[in-house]
Assembly symmetry: C2
Homo-oligomer: 457 residues x 2
């Protein structure tokens, strides 16, 4: 349909300028100093939704950062698509590795470089612009609602309660989300499974103050050595998590299902090359795609303690800490896993130290069916613009709120993302190819058309 | 001798003011930004030595920070005491735990609070003031030389070459050092042994950039998990270091020697209480005093990697690092131990990561005899002012340069220190009791008198 390509071509630069305005707001949800930026980003979204053609848009308070809601109801009898996205972004450390400032978007080699360029400002904003396109060209086939939150990167702690409060307002037929990646530009895919997450922080305290390592070393338990030992025991020599009960609720896939998964294209040598690693690593008995797709994992996300500056300081630190998170697969409950972790960690800690364990956030895994109208519409839309049938894939990532949507609103979510693995989300030099941004805007209107068609069939 | 007490009483306030002037210079040797402060501290010492009565004082360049040299030769035929000290100090992290700014000395409850208050500005400056006292009261019994260096806290990397260059200038009969502690105000002691040190930094690199822990977690070796595992294996369940060859050169003490050591007063319950620890910890089969006095140890001094800020960031870090140091006992060679550590660490690292090991600094251990004139003079001087015979003790700390003095200059060092364990050297809120400062100044002149007496006997 030429009008789609034409509209995008005419408004190409403006779309980018508007996205850049959003990106320039450093809305890092995990750092409390950025509170005012959260409000600015929310207001920016409200304005964008009204300008794009919403009948109504509001910044609605929650117990945490507010949620932006917008809607255009063309006919209450028609289906309604609820677009979900988030305006918050991850922190930017280590800042020194960025080639351009993270909140000053820059286009280099056809990619937008900035924190949030993909996750999720770039991807969510495609929906605002595709919606504008449909409104201005009088081709919007269904009702549309937008729900853009500001705490996704910290696990959406306040969204569940907010959903309860606004159930009526959020009535819809499906939730549409762009916050995931394609297997590749030439390997389009739609994410049908997400891992859950249990994110913990542990603090090990030895002596009540930093000590001179010469005067005390060898006679007092060093919390950094103890922490290393505790972390080391959390996985065995087969890279299996040792927490008792950790695997109890994991659903093992059948041989047939695993054979089906093994058909997804995957080049382990290219994978190793792109990460510059000598060997891959993971749970014995599973492939790389299985390790991230259908198996839970445990990773240290951060570790710190003692003297970390230049040179040598002979200190025996008082404390050492780590952030440790576990990716979970569907059927594992993150509350239960957090509890098992805490009990285990406290049990294995020696009496020479004090240990504190805090659950920072969590979310359940999710599996989406591929035989519903919305999935079929998404698959056909992607096929229309990419020229290839998308592969349904289980992603290793987590969008904890997705399973909550099903629980609270009774709605399935379609994860039609347009990112690439090379977008470096959560990393320095996050980026989003311009081609993906515009291709996303082009694909979304087809989704609406096909969705209405399948819903009315 | 009343004139000593009288002189100190008359100049009490000025002594403190002059020390404070030195303390206010933030001469942190491990942080290169402080280079100009190193020169300022050296010049301050030069001026102090000239004002105190040196015939000559100079700031003499080295390959690193300069060394301050001063001397007063009253008669070339008389013995010469070479005073060694250092004008550099440790970093001040974690700065937020200081109750007063580290470089603004403040007297609270009879203690000077500041970085360097004890180690080693306060202790070294006692020698400048005791020297002034002897000059002004015409009681200086021997020749005196001062050598105050600026790189002790980073392992004196350039002093050995400097010693070679200035051997003639440094000719003396003994080296006198105040950079150690008393067992307690009521338990005077003189340090007769020091541990050596091998201080390493390790860096573990996994993927070439920080990754999203959901998309990659479980399939790529996490360098922070790997580092934890490597550190964990460096000590066994008996807290013995597992590096092959580590204990080869350790001299085991005889049962008699250990029985003698066991007579030193030590209250394990008070020790635990003062550190607020539930249990002590260390190598099986040795007491706490043995663990720090005659046994080597291995401690993580710092560890860092990944996201260490507020909240949760789901990153699989590219790198994780640690500073790991080993305290060594006499006869262990720090070069050999550093090499064994490096070889071992590289050998145990899995092929899923790259590992870099750097030796940051090192020094040999030292044992001083207790039957030489200088030790006997020091013991009698301490007994004169404290009223109790000092106990000879092996300290767990390291002053790496002490063994180098013996090797390069053929001189023994007497470690007549006046600090207390509660002085929190290398920690926040370092302090030095005024009583110790003035008692040190009072004790030093007796050392000179008795030293001449024993040398001429």
């Amino acid at each position: 349909m030429e009008y789609i390509k034409n509209y995008i071509e005419q408004h190409r630069e403006r779309f980018l300028d508007e996205l850049f305005g959003l990106i320039r707001i450093p809305s890092i949800s995990s750092i409390s100093d950025h509170k005012p930026d959260m409000l600015r980003a929310a207001e920016y979204w409200k304005k964008s939704l009204l300008e794009a053609g919403c009948d109504r848009a509001e910044v609605i308070p929650s117990q945490g950062n507010p949620v932006v809601f917008g809607e255009k109801v063309i006919d209450p009898a028609l289906p309604t698509v609820l677009v979900y996205g988030h305006y918050d972004v991850m922190p930017v450390d280590p800042i020194e590795l960025w080639k351009s400032p993270p909140f000053e978007p820059e286009v280099r080699d056809g990619r937008i470089y900035a924190r949030g360029a993909d996750d999720d400002k770039g991807q969510a904003f495609m929906h605002a612009k595709a919606f504008e396109l449909m409104v201005r060209t009088n081709t919007l086939p269904t009702n549309v609602k937008f729900m853009i939150e500001g705490e996704e990167e910290v696990g959406s702690p306040n969204l569940p309660a907010w959903l309860d409060q606004h159930r009526d307002m959020l009535k819809a037929d499906v939730i549409l989300v762009s916050d995931t990646s394609l297997l590749g530009w030439d390997k389009p895919s739609i994410t049908t499974g997400l891992r859950g997450l249990a994110y913990m922080e542990v603090e090990v305290t030895g002596p009540n103050k930093d000590l001179h390592s010469g005067l005390f070393g060898g006679a007092v338990a060093n919390p950094a050595n103890v922490l290393a030992k505790l972390i080391a025991t959390l996985k065995d020599e087969n890279e299996r998590v040792t927490i008792p009960g950790f695997y109890d609720d994991v659903l093992e896939l059948s041989a047939e299902e695993r054979a089906e998964m093994a058909k997804a294209p995957f080049d382990v040598e290219a994978y190793k090359r792109s990460l510059e690693i000598g060997e891959i690593s993971g749970e014995t008995g599973y492939s790389t795609l299985e390790r991230t797709g259908i198996r839970p994992s445990l990773d240290v996300n951060g570790i710190w303690g003692g003297y970390t500056g230049e040179g040598a300081k002979t200190v025996l630190p008082s404390k050492a800490s780590a952030k440790i998170s576990m990716r979970l697969v569907p059927n594992q409950d993150h509350h239960k896993i957090a509890r098992l972790f805490e009990e285990h960690f406290l049990r294995i800690a020696p009496p020479t130290v004090k240990v504190k364990v805090t659950a920072l956030h969590g979310g359940q895994g999710y599996v989406s069916p591929i035989d519903i109208p919305a999935y079929r519409a998404a698959a056909r839309a992607v096929e229309t613009t990419f020229g290839k049938r998308p592969i349904p894939v289980r992603s290793g990532g987590s969008i904890p709120i997705i399973s909550t949507f099903e629980e609270k609103l009774g709605l399935k979510s379609i994860l039609m993302g347009f990112g690439l693995e090379s977008d470096a989300i959560h990393s320095p030099n996050e980026n989003f190819p311009l081609d993906n941004f515009y291709r996303g805007i082009e694909t979304i209107p087809y989704f609406y058309t096909y969705f209405l068609e399948y819903m009315q069939a």
